[in-house]
Structures are given as C-alpha cells and as structure tokens.
Point group: C2
Amino acid sequence: MADEALFQFLHNELIQYVYKSAEQGEMENGRCITRLENMGFRVGQGLIERFTKDTARFKDELDVMKFICKDFWTSVFKKQIDNLRTNHQGIYVLQDNKFRLLAQMSGGKQYLEHAPKYLAFSCGLVRGGLSNLGVKSIVTAEVSTMPACKFQIMIQKM
Amino acid sequence: MADEALFQFLHNELIQYVYKSAEQGEMENGRCITRLENMGFRVGQGLIERFTKDTARFKDELDVMKFICKDFWTSVFKKQIDNLRTNHQGIYVLQDNKFRLLAQMSGGKQYLEHAPKYLAFSCGLVRGGLSNLGVKSIVTAEVSTMPACKFQIMIQKM
C-alpha cells in the first residue's frame, strides 16, 4: 500500500511539475505529453530488465504481450489487464477497466480532457518495456469512461 | 521489489528532468534542490496521512520521531533508521547506514558532490510528513561516506 501511494503521489507531482515548467516557457501541451512519455519510456526500459531477469525466453510477440498484460501490469498497476485483443497483424488493444492512475479521479465527463496527461507516462512505460524486449512499437491510450482505459499498441516492423 | 524499482527509476528521472529543464532556463543548482525538496514535501504530506490513518495519537515529539524512523522509513525506504539521536532541544539526527537512494551509487568520494540532489526529495518527504503531524521543521542531509547518510531535523518552535 505504501509504495503504491508513493508512486501515485510522485506521478502526480511529476505531471504538475512538467506542466508548470511548461507554463513558464510557454511550451504547448503536446510537448509536455512527449516529455512524460519519454520519462515513462526510460523507466519502462529499466523495469522490464528487472522483471524478466528470471523468466524463460518468450516464444513470440503474443507471448511478450501476455507478459506485459499479466506480470508487468500487476507489478506496476496492481492488477491484470482485463482484456487483450489483437488483429494478428501487429495491433494489440489492452483494456483496463479500472486503471490505477485514473482510479482516484472523479468519473463522468468532467475531467475527461485531463486524462491524456495521466496516461502519457504509462504509454511510455509500455513502449519502453517492449523496446527492451526487442519489440518496437507506438503506444497510445484512450479513455471513454473513467476509470476504464484502452491502450493501443502498434508494432513497428523492422 | 517491483514497486521499489519503480520508485527509484522514477526518482532518478525526476532529478534528471529538473536539472535538464534548469539548464535551458539557466537556473542555479540551489533552485533545483528547492524544487525537488518541495515535491518531496507534498508527497510526504500525502503519505503520512495514509500511514497514520489507523495509528494511535502520538504522545509527544519524540514519539512522532520514532514513528518517522520506524514505520515511515520502512514503508518508503525498506529499512529502519539505524540510529536516532537528539539533544532534547529540538534537534534530531537520523542516521541511515545504507540509504536506499544512494545504495546504487558507487562508494568512495567520486560522486560525493552529486549526493545533494539525490537527498533533496527525501528531505522534503520528511519535512512534509512532520508538517502534517503538526511539527514544523527544517530538514537537511549530509553524506560523509556513501551510502551512509545523516538527516538533521531542526524543530521550529511556533
């Protein structure tokens, strides 16, 4: 519980800090998102190395995705992904019905516009994790009703 | 282990980000430290509310300090403070012989000059925690040999 709260509070501070420092330099919203995403990327890279230290080699891409949905998600967000879908052509959709970093926010449409900044770091986290497993990707997130959230992963073929 | 790594990686990113954004705006080192300290302060405020939710009322200042050294420290830094000393006039010295956020750094004097930026957040954390328990203080840290570290708390009488 303690560490969980620590991460959440720190994550909130981070967002606030990035947006505050942007105000002074008149940086647009998009660049804040990018910065948060980049931080997530590097944290994801570090984390996945720890998490996979003792796991067996992955069979294929889908196997990697399952690891992200189960082990990785549980470690970071304290629950598994609720639904994983794929078109078998390099697109994966991960649905989390109660995403941890949105769970503290009010439901309804009132704060929907603020959702992207609370998701950017996590998108980076997934992208960084996948990247260190040799899977290059683009990760985006969308929210229709809080605190449910969909992460879309597009694999970049090399 | 997972959450622990998450906090450490995120903490590192935070420091890097604060110092990087300072470079662009030509902010001096002192202000970076202050910003990190302030973030720690707010996180500490939040955390202490969670941690003390079900604890009994504290008897006195020393009782509060013991809570910080044991419960708070264990929750955040995964070990207790090794030594608590006080002059009974409002100064407390908390010694941690293997401080978690310095443990990954090389010992010796090589990186000693970088220690302050890795301690600022934690100083704020303690100050914020104490503040929400009604104890106003100034918290500073010093390192003589890594990864040992001393936190000095000066109580501000109101």
